[in-house]
Symmetry: C2
Subunit: 242 residues, 2 copies
DNA sequence: CGGAGTCTTGAGTATCTTCAATGAGCGTGG
DNA sequence: CCACGCTCATTGAAGATACTCAAGACTCCG
């Protein structure tokens, strides 16, 4: 009974891990899945796949952090999304048969499972849950993308940065011994800037300004938030599932 | 044979019209569908559904133009997407059972079909094509949203505006008798500005600047492009299916 | 200690915003 | 038919915001 609830929760939350999939497959498919899935380890800076490449299969992020980057014709690029544990990469191109629209670059050393296209399609065809889960992921990604889009359309850099911090506080934050919030930023300034569509310089100024006003302190990749209102005041989070 | 190809094309292009659906349903379901679908006419300015409202069903846009707008806490809003003939509205909340994330407002007098939630779910459960079509739409919307997002992250207002014009030229453009391109903008400046995340004032200046440089002329909602390179130079389109 | 990469700061400039005023277009009613 | 009010569009000016380039500081690592 409990197990059933947990399983349902996978579908609802869209957590698509190796283990979650295995649990939901019947015995025959489990074998197929186990044989098809390959672990791959990537170190920071590596590229999983590139924009324009043909889609060979789907990647499941088991640990680490992957950034989806898009380049435009002029060569400039933007970080569209961060992908972490329980999320899938490259599913889009897999479903509609197009080439990859973004470049997936490893921001933090990551462990991925790779399942080749035909094997995954075979499994998805046979397993209702897998299809549902995929759909849930697409919907969540769409919602996230629209939320970011809305933020970009309406908010200033400062607000967007604070929202981004709020997001990180969910996945990379913890309560300090001094009852202040401590966030460990997983990425460097340059990538933060790319995520916000700005330059490291502008970001630095925003940070300096926030610090001057108080309530938040930055030390390298450590962020100490003594005034949690700062993060909650400027809207809800804008990245990732939870 | 030809019919088969045409049908397939619906699935591929994601065109989800009343007629397209009807063609793909078997006789029993056709009856269900016909009984469930209701035509609704909306005049410009009306609201189809509002952000936060519970999802009652799905809307198919048969003609006209609907804008999806998102408000943030501070009350400012942005136009995230335009929806026209052959596209669906409210499918997202229908699938995952959440409330509407955006407000759908009618920009141009529109004819919609409304199919209530349970009827549509019943049909989707029984019809493979419908599910596939829905998935294709979500994927297309996600891609579109990410493209806009990337544009917002990297490009200046001027480029984004030209890209928007390129988009409109696809759906609302035609070759002039003078061999120049003529585009009929379906929406007013305020909405264009909301779509680009700027103010009508800034947009006006961009337009004035472009006109001064030549190659393009604006007269109210009419746009005459004598130098097509203007539209193609600054990247590909960023809105809508075709 | 040196060096590369990263982060911050400074100065000048370009872009965009805001508020307010003017102008163009349109339907209404005298 | 024209004056009136209305909405929409453009323009002006001042100020805020963010960009670029470049120089300086910090950190990590050899």
């Amino acid at each position: 009974m409990l197990k059933e609830i947990v399983k349902r929760d996978y579908a609802r939350s869209g957590l698509l891990t190796y283990k979650a999939i295995l649990e939901r497959l019947d015995k025959n498919d489990q074998k197929t899945f186990r044989e098809a899935a390959r672990t791959k380890l990537y170190s920071s800076g590596q590229v999983v796949f590139s924009q324009g490449q043909e889609c060979l299969g789907i990647y499941l992020v088991e640990s680490g952090l992957i950034g989806l980057r898009r380049f435009d014709e002029s060569g400039t690029s933007a970080l569209l999304r961060l992908t972490q544990n329980g999320e899938a990469l490259g599913y889009r191109s897999l479903i509609n048969g197009t080439s990859h629209k973004n470049t997936a670059e490893v921001l933090v050393e990551s462990k991925l499972y790779f399942i080749n296209k035909s094997a995954f399609q075979w499994l998805a065809q046979r397993n209702h849950w897998l299809r549902e889960c995929l759909l849930a992921i697409v919907l969540r990604d769409l919602d996230q993308s629209e939320t970011i889009c809305a933020g970009l359309l309406t908010s200033k850099l400062r607000s967007r940065f604070l929202r981004l911090m709020a997001t990180f506080s969910e996945s990379h934050g913890e309560l300090d011994e001094t009852a202040a919030f401590r966030i460990e930023l997983p990425i460097q300034r340059k990538d933060l800037a790319d995520l916000l569509g700005t330059s490291p310089a502008a970001l630095s100024r925003i940070i300096a300004g926030l610090q001057r006003e108080g309530g938040i302190r930055f030390m390298g990749r450590q962020v100490f938030v003594s005034d949690p209102y700062l993060l909650t005041s400027e809207a809800t989070s804008c990245l990732g599932p939870a």
